[in-house]
Symmetry: C2
Subunit: 481 residues, 2 copies
């Protein structure tokens, strides 16, 4: 490509005067309407980090624009994605089976978001289960009988998740056109999906003549960062032959990032057996800007068997030979951006040690904040086990009704007064705009979530946030006296 | 946000020495592996333009990272998207119903790719049709009877497209878990979907007890840029009450860009009645880099009724009041990038006139190339009507068997010798790497597609491409003598 020509062509489209006007509009019309996710005072949802190397990666990706729907469209895009996904799998200490070099034909792919990853996986799971059932019935693919029976069988399929699973679980089942059942969680189980609760749902499905085909387990739920009980659940899934065919997916969208730090890698050992796929979002906590949702599968043929519809205009000798990867058959989108580039830039710039340091710092800040909350047990109580940087707590009812005398009980119970107070204080804090936090409801209990884990997070900000919440709480309690 | 802090944090992650090493690797390891879509010698597939304003938009979007899954997450992202989509609808002269201000509650949304847009639309169409059928049966939403019947009804649904429709039509039906039937096209109809051919498919569905619920019509097919016969097809869809409920989608991924030019806007009049949705990719021909796939619907409730699953942690007073748009319910992804920004930058920089000029230039280059092909009717013959910058032709069999004496017939017929020659020459041209073109097969005829429509395209390149193809053809014919 001739760079001088490009310069000329671009100059005819945009000159310095034009740009000055656009920049002014960005400053005066856009910036005031942004929610500042990169501010150290942003402590809502989960973080969505951005860093300089990542911005450069995005810019280069745009410059190299090539909608890499197959290998031939831009070999470097595909090849680097394969290499980078193997790096990421290794950095997260994921079991060998999720690498492109594995015996199980595993591999990773960059998806737009966890929602896309999970919808993709649910479709792949549906296709795999239907095919197994129809082949077991002796039907032959491509026949009219196969097609008719396929949709009858599909009508009985059920995807499963817990009531704490991200909404993408239910949305994925909806997109795939199948039923969905959720496993109830409870505060006394720390909002974790348990084996016995799952068994109840599976048995109910069996009783209703339905076929569970997919389950999403979560490592770090959206509400409280709880971790489903993997070992217990996997044991339940071994109890009946039909249950052994359920596609097990691990959604580690946020907390999966912690796996870069050695002390958390023991968790990944759970995924070595009995798990079909795993996703996490580097664009949450791992310093790469949105979007960089990485999805790993144990057997890539599960994806390509479900999603490959290759028309003539996409046929080429390289793809036909099976020697190259065409990532369009690993996801819903056909075209794709060169997102491996920004992951590469971030890994190269921060190094694995820099990434570990970032994760450890965030977890430390979370521990500090949880400690501050505990120190004011007159005002607040922790609702679920704090972890991975997140603290989930509520404002105590001044009557102290929620927890018996002195609020010393370990068990948080529903309390409408505390719920109203917590919601009111949370909304007041956000309205004032000094910090930004999220409130939610778990098992009927209204809670505040605080997490400070972006690139600019520091202890002074988390301490200030605590002061803001205390001040607002005292003010509201005073008014109510 | 404190910019100095950000600078410090970033500097700790990347210094000039690090960057020099990364840049060297980009130059030596990445660039040689890229397919240069921006080169003026790139004439394959359809273009995937990138321009400076667009690159800046992508960079700012990354800098402002906010996974805008609802309005509150970053109001500017959502509000600008609504404004920009209305601008785009107006620029393309789409009927009023597709704007956010319309009486039908229409509106536009930026999707990742046409594949995502079409999968989303097919799911929405499925949900709308099933609901209509179940409510007509007197069933009540939320009951077990409704759920059971829902999946029985769904098992009979069929999505329809032509055999020239982009593969995303079939993939969308597959993702949605429904059947798919395609309408055959023929060279004698210029590969356009016709009313009579569609009627045959619809009647066959009726006969088989199946329920067509969605059809994708194409304005500019992937193979030959043919345009389905909208008026004729819409008339057929009026013939039976059940057919009137079919969701009609227009896929104008590539050719839709031509609607910015006044002389093509008459085509958009076809979409005023009887069309539910329309998508086009600004990232193909309209100077915005991938991804900027714009989708417009006549009634946004069709999307949100299908896709809205709002959990507690996403509830907020703004969304609850219905006064703001939450685009997550308009697509499969939850999080979204701030893509309206790059569209805005491009529209501001080029102006509508600059965009019109780009489209007209590309169409002119296409006319020039088609003229060159016609001028060598001893070697080549045009296979489908050239248009929107694309020329589809094949190499004549030296025996002249394909077209009677002198090759003067208008009708192209299948010819294995011509097929082999065309394929061989196309592959040889690509192997040599001076230009990059695509070959494909239409109605059994192997063809070469040439299109030169990126930002750097110029007449001298298209003339050179023709010379390269002529030279290679003569060389191959010589060898075969």
């Amino acid at each position: 490509m001739d760079h001088n020509q490009f310069k000329t062509a671009a100059h005819s489209a945009i000159d310095d005067k034009d740009w000055a006007q656009i920049q002014e509009d960005v400053d005066t019309k856009i910036k005031p309407g942004l929610t500042h996710w990169q501010s150290p005072n942003f402590m809502a949802y989960y973080p969505a980090c951005v860093t300089y190397p990542s911005i450069l990666g995005e810019m280069y990706s745009a410059t190299f624009t090539a909608p890499a729907f197959n290998w031939l469209c831009s070999p470097a895009c595909t090849e680097m994605e394969t290499i980078i996904m193997d790096w990421v799998a290794k950095s997260l200490a994921l079991p060998e089976c999720f690498r492109s070099t594995s015996e199980t034909r595993g591999g990773g792919v960059i998806q737009n978001s966890a929602s896309d990853a999970i919808a993709t996986i649910i479709v792949a799971a549906r296709e795999r289960r239907v095919r197994e059932l129809l082949l077991a019935e002796g039907l032959k693919e491509g026949t009219p009988e196969y097609e008719d029976r396929k949709f009858d069988v599909q009508a009985k399929l059920v995807a499963i998740a817990s009531d704490q699973t991200h909404s993408s679980g239910a949305k994925g089942a909806l997109i795939a056109g199948t039923r969905f059942r959720s496993v109830t969680t409870r505060l006394e189980d720390n909002m974790e999906m348990t084996g016995p609760r799952l068994r109840e749902v599976l048995e109910k499905c069996d009783k209703d003549g339905l076929t569970p085909y997919h389950i999403t387990l979560t490592f770090g739920t959206t509400n409280t960062c709880s971790v489903d009980r993997f070992a217990e659940i996997k044991a339940v899934l071994q109890e009946k032959p039909a249950w052994q065919h359920i596609w097990v997916h691990i959604d580690a969208a946020y907390a999966g990032a912690s796996l870069v730090a050695d002390e958390w890698q023991y968790i990944a050992k759970n995924f070595a057996e009995g798990v079909d796929s795993f996703n996490m979002n580097m664009h949450k906590w791992l310093l790469v800007n949105f979007d960089a949702s990485v999805l790993f599968v144990r057997n890539r043929l599960d994806l390509t068997s479900a999603l490959d519809i290759t028309p003539t205009y996409l046929r080429n000798p390289y793809s036909e030979s099976g020697s190259v990867i065409d990532y369009r058959n690993w996801c819903i989108s056909l075209g794709r951006r060169f997102r491996a580039l920004k992951i590469w830039f971030v890994i190269r710039s921060y190094g694995l040690n820099g990434m570990k340091a970032h994760i450890r710092k965030s977890i430390g800040l979370g521990d500090t904040f949880a400690g501050l909350v505990r120190g004011r047990s007159d005002l607040f109580e922790i609702v679920t086990k704090p972890g991975f940087g997140l603290t989930v707590f509520r404002v105590r009812s001044p009557q102290g009704a929620s927890n018996g005398a002195g609020g010393s009980s370990d068990r948080v119970v529903k309390d409408e007064v505390a719920n109203d107070l917590t919601k009111k204080i949370s909304e007041l804090v956000n309205t004032r705009g000094e910090i930004f936090i999220t409130s939610t409801v778990v098992d009927g209990v209204c809670v505040i979530r605080v997490i400070s884990a972006n690139a600019l997070a520091e202890e002074k900000y988390i301490r200030n946030a605590f002061d803001v919440i205390v001040r607002t709480t005292e003010e509201v309690l005073q008014e109510q006296k």
